[in-house]
Symmetry: C2
Subunit: 251 residues, 2 copies
Amino acid sequence: MSSQANTVNATRTSFRIIEVLKRLDGAGVTAVASELDIPKSTVHNHLQTLLEERYVLKEGDTYSVGLRFLELGEFTRNRMDIYETVRPETETLAEKTGEMVNAAVEEHGQGVYITRHEGQQAVSVDTYAGKRVYLHCTALGKAILAELPEPRVDEILDEHGMPQRTENTITDPDELKAELETIRERGYAYDREERLPGLRCVAAPVVTDGVVAALSVSGPTTRIKGDMFHEEIPELLLSAANVVEINMAYS
Amino acid sequence: MSSQANTVNATRTSFRIIEVLKRLDGAGVTAVASELDIPKSTVHNHLQTLLEERYVLKEGDTYSVGLRFLELGEFTRNRMDIYETVRPETETLAEKTGEMVNAAVEEHGQGVYITRHEGQQAVSVDTYAGKRVYLHCTALGKAILAELPEPRVDEILDEHGMPQRTENTITDPDELKAELETIRERGYAYDREERLPGLRCVAAPVVTDGVVAALSVSGPTTRIKGDMFHEEIPELLLSAANVVEINMAYS
DNA sequence: TTAACTGTTCAGTTCGTCCGAACGGATTAT
DNA sequence: ATAATCCGTTCGGACGAACTGAACAGTTAA
């Protein structure tokens, strides 16, 4: 087992089991055991514990992730000032643009979506609150990176790498840094099908005394183009981000 | 330590630490250690593990619950058929009534809110998605209990008890069961300030092949009264619950 | 400078986790 | 019917690892 010094292996195992339950959308003891290549009695012990603590559910012989995590997660999100402040803005942005609007914050070098609003004609993609994405291949992520100090950017790139997601993904650190410079000057970031083919995004950073977040509008390449891509959406985003920054300052 | 047979104590400790972090809204090693009365080096080991696994955050010397739990929780909620189906209904109910609308499911003998929509004049109370409440003192909970088999009801009451929350809380099992009978006949449930003083709720159950959920409308005693309390809201709830049941059947 | 806080490190020891095999129940094949 | 093969669960023993408490280092207050 890959165990660091002075850490609790059992905890690691428990969370690994939970991740498997999530990935398989519920599973039995044997399935989890073979997935992780550990004895099923061990898996059973962990699941028994998680069941008693009410973190997982058992229906018949199938264990699955319980809503206790939603309690922890929602509680955490609701305590974030940025969440309360950003939500009305993403909502009106979704109305005005008709597209999908997201907000994200940085955590452990990744982007975490905290809100999601669908406009009238929004495409439903694979985003949901809590979902984590790489920073280098999303408009949200690049907007955030552009506002972080360079040493921190290097740290993040070292830790997570720059995996190629589409043929447009930026995989060279220097190229990325040049783009971050452009984003800083321009004030907003683009994702030109760098994470998902056919999907374009525009994002603006929100910088508020330590916390860095970003707002984005996403839509299909066929619709997000021309003035919409280069003028209208950027302007709406910048003013929304500005409103959030002001409201954060006086909250 | 209260350790059951064949369970993993370390896992229990980790989750206990996480709960403390939630309750204190972030805390240091020493604070957590004294809260749980365990050595701080132990706490440190657990927090180190949770940090490496990205489940908690560390800002300076303060550890806090991370958004990883939101990922697990939201993912779980989004996989629930009932969630997708119920959301449009709670939204329109909130518009029509102007009050706070919630939906909850049963899990481990407790009610767990899965959606929340605020109408125009809704009072903001302490509910949020993922929040857990007792079943015996909420309209949502009683609506759910009324649809569960009696042995299961006894099990739940044994496990969780019937703590008194206000002077109106029903604390006698027989009295509760009589009310559940009334609810079954009438089709919907009331909360007459049984959980929070000044707050009234009406709730209707949603029964769909195994899953039991409930919808509720909540508001201040001063506004939720008369025909509103006895006719309008119940009718809206029943038809909304019915729509959900039908949509669940054909999904 | 000192004192009183932090969080962190470390090493020893005991405790509890992990494991493999055996059990019992349910389902399917023979 | 009977056997075979799944499943989840139980058990006890052994070894590894989690817990512990004291010492360390870094920070703030006196």
